[in-house]
């Protein structure tokens, strides 16, 4: 399995650290109720099919990536920088 890092090109899976579903980008406000934090930290759609999840290019450019891939076939369709997404902090 390889991921094509937008900065480094196609790299071996072992260079990347898997963090989890894209949900981790939607952090609740500090004052949000406990249920919102529980949902954010633990509950998942866990799709069989297309998913978007977060990987960290630990042994490469040290960028956080959003990987669009299929959990049934392992096909990877897109790898984007978290820093590049709309509304990201600049």
């Amino acid at each position: 399995m390889r991921l094509t890092c937008p900065l480094c090109g196609p790299r071996d899976r072992r260079e990347f650290y898997y963090y989890g579903a894209e949900d981790y980008l939607n952090r609740p406000d500090a004052g949000a109720p406990g249920s919102a934090w529980d949902d954010y930290l633990h509950n998942r759609d866990n799709p069989a099919g297309m998913t978007r999840d977060l990987w960290y290019h630990e042994q490469g450019c040290a960028q956080w990536l959003i990987v669009t891939r299929n959990t049934v076939t392992h096909a990877v369709t897109a790898v984007d920088l978290v820093a590049g997404r709309q509304g990201a902090a600049t």
Partner: protein, 416 residues
């Protein structure tokens, strides 16, 4: 038909013409008292104990494929009760006791073999942790023996004791641990449940869950609608999809875990050996194949097959521990879809829908739990109350903070 040595002998004389199918193949009825979604180990044992312990026999097990075609037929068959945390310890202890009477109870040979399990340690700190774990096991009423280096050498002389990275300092021996024939466990429970009147319905995929005013009414399936006042979801890696039919989002992420088996060899490994520092464990099946595995591939997956980096890692760990297996040829490898919970422990609980129950989150340890999981899930479905040994397997524990983090690594999906 009851199985016995006499029966085998008599059938041998009659040319084996008297054997009958081990269970019926019924068409689904319009209504049952209880439906179990999922015909794997846990679902079949739930149905069996509903019938046996609670007298609820008007039960259907709905299986989208064939009985025992999921993780119960795709694991490394280890049975043990070496847990530490209150909440886990009594549950797995209960399960091991059920294993020890299982063959007589089911009238089925599940080839349960208490060959002993050794967890190796490689440092003083690890020795202390294992001593503590062993004491917890003994306090629970189970067995544990702390072995020093020479004690391990006596049992397992073929390990590489001179390894410089992970020198073997000793091991924790759990004599009642061992293995069982995994398919036979599913078949034994299926046959025993069928004999008590449970309908086992294969090729019947649940496509919807009917809920009215917060109460369960039944399920929609590829073989029509089926009504029931109680429904249990026991679908392991597919928990997320089935629970979504009831409007639920679960604290479950499905991951891939690989395992491997070699060609058949003469008996060489008598125990189950666990090499935690290398994420490697191994035993030898009764057919002679070395059965071994490692850790997760560590990304969400439903592919039921893994990737090569983990294959390489497992082989390296095996060679590190026991160089003698280097010339054994790997016959096949496979992957299971693990229902990973954030803290690595399971869930047996009610849901927000009255009459809908959930049994999931077995991570990579579901096989040994098959008897107690069914026992406790049946208790919950029949009485509406959690069983004493499963009362901490709550769905809301991630919100309340009552975690069961056996590994002590944290409550996060990518850590277990």
């Amino acid at each position: 038909m009851r199985y016995s040595g006499w029966k085998v002998f008599a059938e041998g004389l009659r040319g084996n013409k008297g054997w009958k199918p081990a269970w019926r193949d019924p068409a689904p009825k319009a209504e049952y008292d209880a439906i179990i979604i999922g015909g794997g180990g846990h679902g079949l044992s739930t149905a069996y104990y509903l019938a046996k312990n609670h007298g609820i026999t008007n039960v259907a097990v709905l299986e989208k494929g064939w009985l025992g075609g999921g993780n119960v037929g795709r694991n490394t068959t280890i049975v043990r009760a070496n847990y530490f945390l209150p909440g886990n310890s009594e549950f797995y202890s209960h399960s091991l006791k059920l294993w020890e009477g299982l063959e007589r109870d089911l009238n089925y040979n599940v080839m349960h073999s208490q060959r002993g399990l050794v967890n190796l340690f490689h440092s003083d700190g690890q020795r202390d942790a294992f001593a503590r774990r062993g004491n917890a096991m003994i306090n629970q009423g189970d067995d544990a023996i702390l072995l020093d280096r020479e004690g391990v050498r006596e049992l397992l002389p073929y390990l590489d004791f001179d390894n410089t990275r992970f020198p073997i300092h000793g091991g924790l021996l759990h004599p009642r641990g061992g293995t069982a024939r995994h398919d036979a466990v599913a078949w034994g429970y299926a046959r025993a449940a069928d004999r008590r009147g449970v309908d086992l319905i294969q090729n019947c995929e649940v496509t919807g869950i009917d809920i009215e005013n917060g109460r369960i009414r039944g399920v929609q399936t590829t073989r029509g609608a089926i009504r029931a006042g109680k429904v249990g979801i026991v679908v392991a890696g597919r928990s997320g999809q089935v629970a979504a039919m009831a409007g639920m989002r679960l604290p479950i992420e499905s991951h891939i875990l690989q395992a491997f088996v070699t060609e058949g060899l003469k008996p060489v490994i008598d125990h189950v050996i666990s090499f935690g520092m290398g994420h490697f464990y191994i035993s030898q099946s009764d057919k002679g194949g070395l059965v071994f595995g490692g850790d997760l591939d560590f990304y969400a997956s439903y592919a039921a097959r893994g990737n090569l980096p983990m294959v390489e890692h497992v082989m390296e760990a095996g060679m590190t521990l026991m160089p003698m297996i280097g010339r054994a040829r790997v016959l096949r490898s496979w992957g299971g879809i693990m229902d990973m919970s954030p803290d690595g422990s399971p869930i047996i609980d009610k849901t927000h829908v009255e009459g809908l129950f959930l049994d999931c989150g077995w991570n990579y340890g579901g096989f040994k739990a098959v008897p107690a999981s069914g026992w406790c899930m049946a208790h919950l479905m029949a009485t509406g109350e959690s069983h004493e040994v499963a009362k901490r397997f709550r769905l809301d524990r991630f919100a309340t903070g009552h975690l069961l983090d056996e590994e002590g690594t944290g409550s996060q999906h990518n850590l277990h």
